[in-house]
């Protein structure tokens, strides 16, 4: 058996390619369509690889450097895949006052990685984010887009267990 040295890029993945093409096709005629395309790719594919960026540049007839420039400017755009589950800690003012740092310490202990890292099995990514607008429930932890409010360190452990349990059940 031969192993490929190149990891498969979504662009060359037969399941994902049509999704990518559809997203581009839908927005190609929009004014300012680049942001729309990148946002949709980020949310449907999960990240914006270098080949994907080049592909978008060509499709929209704009320089690759401009696409890189836009991708690197916005914090929502990532260029490497994240873990299957993303746990985000809000470090907005209300959550900071509400003790989010203690939860981050707790997470480092429970999961064994720092924010910005992904577990070696590719299961969980820890991230920090800005105010998600749920400040009255501070401190807030977002798990795969679901907002968990008033998280204490014991509740946090439960949240992580739930993620793992769901995964085991799936």
């Amino acid at each position: 058996m031969t192993s490929t040295t190149q990891p498969t890029d979504p662009l060359y993945n037969p399941k994902m390619r049509p999704i990518i093409d559809k997203i581009i096709e839908d927005s190609i005629d929009l004014d300012g369509g680049l942001m729309v395309v990148l946002n949709n790719l980020q949310s449907k594919i999960g990240y914006l690889s270098a080949p994907m960026q080049e592909y978008v540049a060509e499709a929209l007839s704009i320089p690759v450097s401009k696409v890189h420039g836009v991708v690197s400017f916005y914090s929502f755009f990532t260029t490497v895949p994240r873990g299957k589950h993303v746990i985000k800690f809000c470090i907005g003012t209300a959550c900071y006052v509400g003790g989010i740092n203690q939860l981050i310490d707790k997470a480092k202990q429970v999961i064994g990685i720092e924010p910005g890292q992904t577990t070696s099995d590719g299961m969980i990514t820890l991230e920090i984010c800005r105010c998600v607008g749920a400040c009255s429930q501070a401190p807030v932890v977002v798990v795969d887009e679901v907002i968990n409010g008033r998280v204490k360190s014991s509740k946090f452990e439960k949240i992580v267990q739930n993620v793992l349990k769901e995964e085991a059940a799936a």
């Binding site: 004014d31 300012g32 369509g33 680049l34 942001m35 729309v36 990148l38 946002n39 980020q42 401009k66 420039g69 836009v70 400017f73 916005y74 914090s75 929502f76 755009f77 809000c90 470090i91 907005g92 003012t93 209300a94 959550c95 900071y96 006052v97 509400g98 003790g99 740092n101 203690q102 310490d105 707790k106 480092k108 202990q109 984010c129 800005r130 105010c131 998600v132 607008g133 749920a134 400040c135 009255s136 429930q137 501070a138 887009e145 204490k152 360190s153 014991s154």
Partner: protein
């Protein structure tokens, strides 16, 4: 045997009775008689319906199956009238509709005046007919059939409506500039970027009453002469985006957006565009660049967007809440609107109360209310009976106001004069356990990370301030740091290109002004008075310890050892001073030094 068209079941759970179920039942009988329908409606007692603690006293009405909860005797009359006479569910008390209402927007407190938040939780945001039923789109009808664009602009000018996005610029004037600006097409933009951490009123309006914003934008578009609009919403608000998209679709179906609105020859289309996590994109020129599909970097103004905005064309940008005010002003009239608020700031303002305050959530008050009324009367004061230290208004470019400003009547001018800003309406309340140097450091970290890097004073200056603050918090501050901070703040304020850099020093300047003693304690005594800065404190376990092991199990670095039922000990070399043990101990056995 009598024929009843409806049946009311009243919960007679002991807790409901204690909360007045019997009086409510009697009141219902009275009201039914008053409406002369006592023979059509049957009333029965049942043991229990919903959770009496949270929902009692409650009733169930058949055949509709409507569950009305948390009733009061005052609620009975409107309930009977709405449900039995007008034949529609009374939303405030309906359990089904209550699901839409949540702890983020509670029932208004006595001193509140709800204009912008009025419909939130009371109408179904995904059903345009709910909005129409509360007089929605009537203002638009009036504008399109009875008013010229000039008259609309004059009305908004006379209302003295000021932009709610931060700067408080008169909305009517902005519309006038955009109206007069040569060039076409013209664009209407709604700023829904709401980046201030601690603020979420725009999200709530978009999620709970999206049509009020759409209606305001269409009216504005008619006044300015625009046929295309964009709502720029931050990516952190996916529910707001989807709700808005549904609302836009329905408005199109009802002929309230798109071609020939309400049968006139006025055409206006609206699209939602999403940000991607850059705070600076809330600044109007950066926002425009972002919609255009570029990096969201601000540019020098003038030219202002009113003359040269989106794709170089005249563009009007207002905040979500600014637009949401417009239909109310037109529909209810200038006299009503200008009767609310202070001399220079008319109407109401929504605020997001967060931090160490008892009732967090959204509130709405007329301009001119004092901070004390807002934080103590409406917000219920400081959580856990602690002392008040400061309130931070205006987000990362705002300031911290100590006790002596509690009687300040809040509007754009007064907050500015006190060294803070209105911003978009975030209010983070801080109790005595908050370290103000740490808070200044926190905000500087925010602005430093969010600086787009285009101009040097902001990019380099925020970095240097942050370094100094980090040193002070770590107990390595030197006396020269304070004058150095002051001069750096001056420079950044003076020389930065956009509002982010110009406002970035505010949290530092305001804490230096009001809490200099805390800076000095860190620098001269290597002491953090609020016991927050990790390098300057240590945790110890006292004799109160019962050996319950809770702290040891929760310590993230396993710094605590001890046998069950015996005194526990913290290994200071391992401890990272996170404070979790202090928080979880139920016996007050952990102390901070």
């Amino acid at each position: 045997m009598a024929y009843y068209r409806s049946t009311i079941l009243v919960s007679m759970d002991p807790i409901c009775i204690e909360k007045g179920a019997i009086q409510i039942k009697e009141q219902i009988i009275e009201e039914l008689k008053l409406q002369k329908i006592q023979d059509e409606v049957e009333i029965l007692d049942i043991p229990r319906i919903g959770d009496p603690e949270t929902e009692g006293p409650d009733i169930l009405v058949y055949p509709e199956g409507s569950h009305y909860i948390a009733l009061t005797t005052e609620s009975v009359r409107p309930l009977v009238v709405e449900h039995f006479i007008k034949g529609r569910e009374l939303k405030q008390y309906s359990a089904r509709m209550r699901d839409l209402m949540d702890e983020e927007v509670r029932e208004p407190k006595e001193k509140e005046v709800r204009v912008i938040l009025e419909n939130i939780g009371k109408i179904d945001p995904r059903n345009i007919e709910d909005y129409i039923a509360v007089d929605g789109y009537q203002a638009l009808a009036k504008v399109l059939t009875e008013m010229t664009p000039q008259e609309v602009i004059q009305t908004i000018l006379d209302s003295k409506l000021r932009g709610r996005g931060g700067a408080g610029f008169p909305a009517g004037l902005k519309w006038k500039f955009a109206h007069q600006a040569p060039g076409s097409p013209k664009y209407m933009v709604c700023n829904a970027d709401e980046g201030d951490p601690g603020a979420f009123m725009n999200r709530k309006v978009l999620e709970g009453d999206p049509h009020s914003v759409i209606e305001g934008m269409v009216i504005g578009a008619y006044a300015v002469g625009s046929n295309q609009g964009y709502v720029y919403c931050r990516a952190e608000y996916p529910i707001a985006v989807s709700t808005l998209n549904i609302a836009i679709k329905q408005a199109k179906e009802y002929g309230l957006l798109g071609k020939n609105i309400m049968g006139t020859d006025f055409t206006f289309d609206l699209e939602v565009r999403m940000g991607a996590g850059a705070f600076v994109c809330g600044e109007e020129t950066a926002l425009i660049a972002s919609i255009e599909g570029s990096r969201g970097e601000p540019r020098v103004r003038p030219p202002f967007p009113a003359t040269k905005g989106l794709w170089g064309k005249p563009t009007n940008i207002n905040n979500v809440e600014t637009y949401a005010n417009v239909p109310k002003i037109i529909h209810r009239g200038l006299d009503w609107y200008t009767s609310l608020g202070s001399e220079k700031s008319k109407g109401t303002k929504t605020f997001a109360l967060a931090g160490d305050v008892s009732h967090t959530g959204l509130i709405e008050v007329p301009f001119g209310m004092t901070l004390r009324e807002i934080i103590f009367d409406i917000g219920g004061g400081i959580k856990g009976g602690k002392g008040y230290k400061a309130v931070q208004t205006g987000g990362p470019m705002g300031g911290c106001l100590p006790t002596k400003y509690l009687d300040l009547a809040v509007d754009y001018e007064t907050l500015g004069a006190a060294g803070s800003i209105m911003g978009s309406g975030g209010m983070v309340v801080m109790d005595e356990d908050t370290c103000m140097v740490d808070i200044a450091r926190f905000f500087m970290e925010f602005t430093q990370e969010e600086s787009c890097g285009k101009c040097v004073p902001c990019r380099v200056g925020t970095r240097r301030i942050l370094e100094i603050l980090e040193r002070i918090c770590a107990g390595e501050g030197i006396p020269e740091d304070i004058p150095m901070l002051r001069s750096l703040c001056d420079e950044i304020k003076q020389d930065s290109l956009c509002g982010l850099g110009q406002g970035a020093p505010n949290p530092v300047v305001s804490t230096l002004t009001h809490f200099l003693d805390e800076y000095e304690a860190h620098i001269y005594e290597k002491r953090c008075p609020a016991k927050v800065c990790r390098n300057l404190i240590s945790y110890h376990i006292t004799d109160n310890c019962t050996g319950c092991t809770v702290c040891a199990r929760n310590c993230p670095v396993s710094a605590i050892t001890g046998e069950r039922k015996l005194l526990h000990v913290i290994d200071q070399d391992v401890c990272i001073r996170c404070g979790i043990c202090y928080q979880v101990c139920n016996f007050d056995a952990v102390e901070v030094n």
